[in-house]
Symmetry: C2
Subunit: 303 residues, 2 copies
């Protein structure tokens, strides 16, 4: 079994973007993706697809990119490596729904290699409900675990903890949402494992529209009012705080002269900030706030 | 002439907070500051005053703090210094107006010292109009220059350039607003200069309500519509981007376990993001966008 080339992986990821966009359009029933093709001056480019005119989705995108060129000094320094060219390809998604009852979702699958032979996979999928619901959280984590378990039984526990640690706002002592999985620098020992990790990322890609489609359909039926919209705006504020202050990918992109509009595709349509906001005791908002914590075993919780 | 103690400076800065709050309440005519007194577990505390129920001001605050304790490792490492206790006191202000025709303003004056004798002053004042107006910009820079020139004729040109460089969003290649002045690590050679720099910071403090009161009064008379409100929301988004991604003070505060709600007092009440927004050719918004650049000599411009 021979290893797929970077061009093969890039092509497969591009097809995954097509698949996901088609499925999300179907699930929304009204909106569509508008395509924006861009070139990177230093090498490569991308195909950013922004969702427009949605019924359920208010803002978001599904971005594919395949970029290459001299490895940024920041990476070389971190890895203690000499000059080398790099190649990176991936699919990155953030969707912000209109309804506060539908969660925000994020997914990313990516492959990175350097011409000195160093290479790895990274990615993850995580859910940020404006209102934490235990049944929803359990469903999400169960579906993610099922995919993980098909490839390696150590993946889910390891990557679930990684997501808890990664999607965390130290300055608020809260997690961004209910987590999911996150993995980075996953290095294959041999060609077989390389294919296995690649297939794992593709299974995550296929899971994305399935599991999010489920929430789009089910949760967009739930009623809400001004109170829920206003809470959604504050939660969107926290999403902004995480992405701009702590997200390593966003920081890296903005630091290394990445394509700003594609990087900040993850921003919500709007967000609000209120000094010292405290949810009302006993409210659904307080319940959510209390459940934005690391280390919750969503699979074993029953309401 | 003997040098004022850190306790003296802290007291004077606290009085400056009182003065500024009183003047801003008068200029607004309706809103008032609500006080929030807090203690810092590691030493010291502050008095955060948040503006409520305003007529002209929508959100913002005037914060005083005087904190002390072991110097954070980040500072020690940066300055290549051994362990030492520090003391820091200052007044920090951000005001977001309701009307898009009134600019956002920021001011900060601060004093820092360590028990090994190292000490310095820092601060600045800068204006972020949602709509750049040359007359307003000239007025603002002229008033700031007048204060600077009373103390040192090198201050304005030096600190104006510093503000251009500091209040800059590399990922957008734009400045946050029309700048003003910014200075840091201003070290006095002797007691006389120490007093001089302290008085300079107090003159800036007194300038604040004067110059901003002028814009509150004049610009809140200007009419605006949906188009201007929507542009304001996008500009507020940029304000969030600067503060969360690039502002050294915010980063440092969040990194070193500062008081989150006081640090993020600077966030606008709301903000919006739109993928690839481009102002209409020939519009006032495009004019503003084109004038968010470093190195503009606002004093010499005539419409």
């Amino acid at each position: 079994m021979s290893r797929k080339s970077k061009e093969d992986i890039s092509k497969i990821y591009q097809q995954m973007q097509d698949h996901i966009c088609k499925e999300i359009e179907l699930a929304d029933g009204k909106g569509f993706f508008e395509e924006d093709i861009w070139q990177r001056p230093a090498g490569g480019g991308g195909r950013t697809r922004i969702f427009k005119n949605g019924n359920i989705i208010e803002k978001g995108g599904v971005a594919f990119s395949a970029v290459h060129g001299p490895t940024p000094d920041k990476i070389l320094k971190k890895l203690k490596l000499d000059k080398a060219d790099f190649f990176a390809t991936g699919v990155s998604i953030v969707l912000h729904p209109k309804s506060p009852m539908v969660p925000i979702i994020h997914m990313n699958i990516r492959y990175f290699e350097m011409d000195n032979g160093v290479h790895w996979f990274g990615g993850g999928i995580d859910l940020t409900p404006h209102y934490v619901d235990q049944e929803d959280a359990k469903h999400f984590h169960l579906e993610v675990k099922k995919v993980c378990d098909q490839y390696d039984s150590s993946y889910y526990p390891k990557f679930k903890t990684w997501a808890d640690d990664y999607f965390y706002l130290p300055h608020r002592d809260e997690t961004r949402g209910i987590g999911g999985i996150f993995y980075d620098r996953l290095i294959a020992k041999d060609d077989e494992q390389f294919e296995n990790i690649l297939q794992f990322s593709l299974s995550l890609g296929r899971l994305f529209p399935e599991v999010y489609g489920h929430f789009m359909k089910k949760n967009s039926q739930l009623s809400f009012g001004e109170n829920e919209k206003s809470w959604q705006s504050l939660r969107r504020g926290r999403y902004v705080e995480f992405n701009l202050v702590w997200d390593a990918g966003t920081k890296f992109g903005l630091d290394t002269n990445g394509r700003t509009e594609s990087i900040l595709m993850s921003m919500p349509p709007q967000a609000e900030w209120e000094y010292m906001h405290e949810p009302r005791v006993g409210s659904e908002e307080e319940y959510t706030q209390k459940h934005l914590k690391k280390g919750i075993d969503w699979l074993s919780l029953v309401k």
